[in-house]
């Protein structure tokens, strides 16, 4: 922040600081220093006063000391030489009879962050570890971590590490936790502090003494522990049971996270733990502070991936309050969609309908999208609501409704009649490009059933000159072409005009190329055009993919109680804005956690091998799919059942606990229909660093 008159202030303060009259008057001296700090925190560069402040440091006044240290720690990096002067005072303070002064000196000594001072700091730090006051030991322990951070290359003395280990048994719980923290940082390269049986049991026994922060830290470190026997595991679990239902959300989450990592081999136990945290999690969702509510909601979404039925009976807890911030409302709606079932669907839809008229346009759109999602299983009820919303004639609502209808129709072609009927007249209210694109797509695909389709398109074509959005123009071209295929007589003239405009006058190359493509396509004959434009129809069998299978807990257990669940949703909400359904609809969600680590450059090897399999007895695709999901092979997409050759795209990925990168394997299953059956598996394996492995699929 630029601060006018900064130099003037510095000069004035320097004069005051070096004035002997001021220096002799304790109160005035302190007040002058106060002014320096105030100016500093406002962003004025005060580094010029460093030497004056160093002098002010030699005082018996603790308040003044503290103030000066704040200053020195901020500017020490700019004045390494002068900082050497401070060290003497600090070292003297380390001998002070008052433990508070000792801890203050020690803390600031390490906060100076100057590699050149390390040699002077080591000795007082070592002494601090043996100090009789716990508050000094607390500071000293963390001091070693800071020192290590300062010069990560140099090894910290093994004796110190040993001493830190022994301080894990310190009577003060904060010293103990600080030791854990320091060792974690110092021994980072070796994988952190060693967690063996005695240490684990010691930490568990003292867990109750620690404050919230300490407990979180201990629980987190313990995640690395592997119990040696089942009995030990269950002893630990029953010891931790109380913290699992702790009313403090951070502790509850940390404990659950520990449970999941301890029970990674025993899914039944983890499921029981998840059931047990339902109460505390729901309580956190209703907590007074919105940030905590948000965090809890994000974590609930994670749990629902494995146990969709976990919160079923408590759906009312996820109803939105009027004054809640938009980000909470949107999360709650995402949760509500997951909770829908035959009994509550009416109530839920009623509630969601109420949110559609929310003042916040984004929330309203999210509500409409949510209704659309529910529509995949309860299409009639949802379409009724959506059609009703069109009657409000508000542009953002209409736009969201049309987009939702487009997505819905792609999955549930049986709704198309209702949708076509509802479309009439909504082009007047549509303002934004997303909504108009959706409308055009619908008109193109279902043009034969919407009587007014050509007239609507004509309005668009007449206005194409003033159209700003690229997407709308592209969609308009495709829609007009499709409509031409089914209603040539009404459309021929306007298609001609549109193509002429796009080829002759349009400046955007994308649109022009698209138009040229269609123009040339038409030269190839109507049959050829039909093949290209109507090749991709929505496929009712896609519905199989909608019901997401319950994921194993291990899929997300590692990201539980970190930042990840909070981030994931925000990515999801952004990807909600979309193009035509055939391009974007079906990214199966399980993929989401991989997509951000995957990077084309890392595909190291592509195996393209062909595995022929023996004849498989006839089985339905559904049962085949279910069988494959059991062994963690997921379906990405497949062609409609009767077509030949029939293809399925599959993927699977490793989720090893310790591997820094996971491996993703994509595969294609091809059925050519000849006897005997043939299956071909192409594998592309993408990973980072581990090296591609050609894992044989026994298909």
């Amino acid at each position: 922040m630029p601060y006018l008159g900064g130099e003037e202030t510095v000069r004035e303060l320097r004069r005051a600081l070096s004035n002997p009259n001021v220096q002799s008057d304790q109160l005035r001296y302190r007040n002058t220093i106060l002014k320096v700090i105030r100016a500093m925190s406002q962003g004025v560069d005060m580094s010029g006063l460093f030497s004056e402040m160093v002098k002010a440091c030699a005082t018996v006044d603790v308040v003044q000391k503290k103030l000066v240290y704040v200053f020195l720690c901020s500017y020490a990096a700019l004045n390494p030489e002068l900082s050497l002067l401070v060290i003497n005072t600090l070292r003297k303070d380390c001998q002070d009879p008052n433990p508070m002064v000792r801890s203050l000196a020690l803390r600031n000594m390490t906060n100076l962050r100057l590699p050149s001072l390390v040699e002077y700091v080591e000795q007082p730090l070592a002494a601090g570890l043996r100090d009789r006051a716990a508050c000094v030991r607390r500071v000293a322990v963390l001091g070693w971590a800071k020192l290590h951070n300062l010069q990560a290359s140099s090894e910290i003395d093994a004796a110190v590490v040993n001493e830190l280990y022994s301080l894990l048994r310190d009577p003060d719980p904060v010293v103990m936790v600080n030791c854990l923290r320091a060792l974690e940082e110092i021994l980072k390269d070796e994988g952190g502090v060693a967690i063996n049986k005695p240490i684990t049991h010691h930490l568990l026994n003292r867990l109750k003494e620690c404050d919230i922060w300490g407990q979180c830290q201990v629980l987190r470190v313990l995640q690395r522990y592997r119990p040696q026997s089942e009995d030990e595991l269950f002893d630990i679990l029953s010891l931790l049971d109380a913290s699992l239902v702790s009313p403090h959300p951070p502790i509850m989450a940390a404990t659950l996270s520990l449970f999941l990592s301890l029970c990674s081999g025993q899914p039944a136990v983890s499921l029981a733990a998840l059931e047990r945290v339902r109460g505390p999690l729901l309580a956190a969702c209703g907590s007074g502070s919105r940030e905590m509510r948000f965090t809890a909601l994000c974590h609930i979404q994670l749990l629902l991936r494995s146990i969709p039925g976990l919160m079923g009976a408590h759906y009312k807890r996820f109803f939105c309050g009027y004054a809640e911030p938009a980000y909470i409302k949107q999360r709650k709606m995402q949760v509500l969609v997951e909770l829908v079932n035959d009994e509550n669907v009416a109530m839920l839809l009623d509630e969601l309908k109420g949110y559609c008229t929310d003042v916040n346009a984004e929330t309203a759109q999210a509500a409409i999208t949510a209704i659309g999602r529910i529509g995949r299983s309860y299409s009639d009820r949802c379409l009724e609501i959506l059609t009703g919303l069109l009657g409000l004639k508000q542009d953002h609502i209409t736009s969201a409704v049309v987009q939702t209808m487009r997505d819905l129709v792609w999955v549930c072609p049986q709704c198309s009649d209702t949708v076509c009927f509802a479309l009439e007249g909504c082009e007047e209210t549509l303002q934004d490009s997303q909504g108009r694109q959706a409308l055009l797509w619908l008109l193109g695909v279902y043009g034969e059933r919407v009587s007014s389709a050509p007239y609507t398109l004509e309005v668009f074509i007449d206005g194409v000159r003033s159209e700003a959005s690229l997407g709308v123009k592209m969609e308009l071209l495709t829609a007009t072409m499709r409509l031409f295929l089914c209603r040539p007589a009404e459309t021929q003239d306007m298609l001609g005009r549109l193509l002429h405009y796009c080829i002759e006058e349009e400046t955007d190359m994308c649109v022009r190329d698209q138009a040229l493509l269609y123009y040339r396509l038409l030269h190839c004959g109507i049959e050829e055009t039909r093949k290209v434009l109507q090749g991709r129809r929505s496929d009712p069998s896609l519905g199989v993919l909608i019901g997401r299978p319950a994921e194993p807990v291990s899929q997300w257990a590692r990201s539980f109680n970190t930042l990840e669940p909070l981030r994931q949703g925000s990515i999801e909400t952004e990807s909600v804005s979309r193009g035509s359904p055939e391009h974007t609809m079906f990214d199966p969600k399980p993929n989401a956690d991989l997509s951000n680590t995957l990077d084309c450059s890392r595909i190291e090897k592509v195996h393209s091998e062909c595995v022929r399999c023996p004849t498989i007895p006839r089985c339905s695709p559904q049962s085949l799919q279910a069988a494959m999901q059991l062994v963690n092979i997921q379906t990405l997409a497949f062609t409609p059942p009767q077509t030949l050759p029939w293809r399925v795209y599959l993927y699977t990925h490793t989720c090893l606990d310790d591997a820094p990168h996971s491996t993703l394997i994509l595969g294609e299953l091809l059925y050519t229909g000849e006897e005997p059956q043939k299956a071909e598996v192409h594998k592309g394996s993408a990973d980072g660093g581990v090296g591609a492995e050609g894992i044989e699929d026994d298909m």
Partner: protein, 436 residues
């Protein structure tokens, strides 16, 4: 662990900035301001990612508190820490406002120094902190021998929240049961969600190291005792017991004892503190029922009638009752008739505010309003925000009752009877909304 803590005012000016770890650069302060405080749109999430740094923020009145970190931390913990930070600051200088932060910035720097070290939370109990913090200009420069020993005993001793050698001439105890009742009701009068979040706040002025025992009508305890005493007793007390969904205690409460016998025993800190916090969702006494009636008469007129019914003992008086009836944006004029209290149409808030100073239980009152609307081209339908209500009642809507609070001090010669105890119940409205 937290890399840095920043406090901004509503304009985005930095009031306090403290960096704990090297991985947070100086530009992080500006990054948050530019991307979140100055961003045009609404806040999209309490966690923001900017250039691989995560910023957690909470807002108190118009002050932003942000914690920055580069690590993949435990989100719930960082938020909990920020709340704690707010609590500590409030305990020191009252409301967190720009004025107060500016006036106390030295104190805040001191606090930040003590609470966090190298980004790890250290000591966050207000009581224990007080010995470490040199309150600006008030304390003398030299700590007396006595104080020094206190610090040592504080940090080594088991009881971090109370110092030894406290003496009062009059041993007094104030117990406040403060509850806020939240309600969401459908227009048909169906309760969509209701919960009470309550706090037991205690102010203790007791000498020595007293041992206290607190008892309330918790269902689990009463049932247990009922079993021992006989079925008749259980049936009698069963009605008045309440089921607590979850509760949190001040660190002084011995949790092991609570877990095993569900008794709340503790050595209290000196002065004011929050003994426990709890939440109930069952059998809540809803102090008021709001019955809305909205009729649209044509395009330019709206008739609203709201009836409120008080639903508690007629000997009790509710206070500070305020009913807020939202009106459409295009309201041109409002005619109001109310039986009781004062009602006013506040154009700036788009609401009719109806205030009643006092109202006894089992009474009913109503207001009717005729709202004239300006004809608009805007086709937007009015969203009909819910009718909200504020009030204060002298009982606990959850039904919680304090059964006893016993004080034992074996070393000093005062007994439970010598302590003067005050108990007070206040039930306030939280978010108390009825849809219309």
């Amino acid at each position: 662990m937290i890399g840095g803590l920043f406090i901004y005012n509503h304009k985005g000016e930095v009031l306090i900035s403290r960096v704990y770890r090297d991985d947070i650069g100086r530009n992080a302060v500006d990054a948050f301001r530019v991307n979140v405080i100055h961003a045009r749109q609404q806040v999209r999430s309490p966690v923001t990612n900017i250039a691989r740094t995560s910023f957690f923020h909470v807002k108190r009145s118009n002050i932003w508190l942000a914690a920055a970190t580069k690590q993949n931390v435990n989100a719930a913990m960082v938020f909990e820490f920020l709340y704690k930070m707010c609590d500590v600051m409030t305990a020191y200088f009252g409301k967190i406002s720009e004025e107060n932060v500016k006036n106390n910035f030295v104190l805040i720097y001191e606090l930040l120094d003590e609470i966090l070290d190298f980004g790890y939370p250290q000591n966050s109990e207000t009581g224990a902190l007080k010995t470490f913090i040199t309150q600006q200009g008030i304390k003398s420069q030299h700590h007396s021998k006595e104080e020094q020993s206190q610090i040592t005993s504080q940090v080594t001793g088991q009881i971090g929240w109370r110092r030894e050698g406290i003496k009062y001439r009059r041993n007094e105890l104030f117990l406040d049961v403060l509850e806020s009742v939240n309600l969401l009701m459908s227009p048909q009068g169906q309760v969509l969600s209701a919960h009470v979040s309550g706090r037991v706040v205690m102010k203790s002025y007791l000498s020595g190291m007293p041992e206290c025992k607190f008892g309330m009508n918790d269902k689990i305890v009463i049932d247990k005792q009922g079993k021992g005493g006989g079925s008749e007793d259980a049936a009698k007390s069963g009605k008045q017991s309440i089921a607590i969904d979850d509760c949190t205690f001040h660190q002084c409460v011995r949790l092991s004892k609570f877990d095993s016998e569900r008794s709340i025993s503790f050595i209290p800190p000196d002065g004011e503190y929050e003994l426990m916090r709890y939440r109930t969702t069952k059998d809540i006494i809803l102090p008021f029922r709001v019955i809305p009636l909205v009729r649209e008469v044509g395009r330019t007129k709206l008739e609203v009638k709201v009836v409120i019914k008080s639903n508690f003992k007629s000997s009790l008086l509710a206070q500070k009752i305020e009913v807020r009836v939202p009106t459409p944006l295009n309201t041109s004029g409002v005619q109001l008739i109310c039986m009781k209290g004062k009602a006013k149409y506040k154009a700036s808030e788009n609401a009719i505010v109806w205030k009643i100073k006092r109202m006894a239980g089992m009474k009913e009152s109503q207001i009717s309003a005729e709202i004239e609307l300006l004809p608009t081209n805007d086709k937007k339908k009015w969203a009909r925000p819910p009718i909200s209500m504020n009030f204060e009642v002298p009982f606990a809507p959850s039904g919680l009752k304090v059964r006893y609070l016993k004080v034992f001090e074996p070393k000093l010669n005062y007994s439970d009877h010598d302590v003067i105890k005050w108990v007070r119940y206040i039930g306030r409205s939280g978010i108390y909304e009825t849809r219309c």
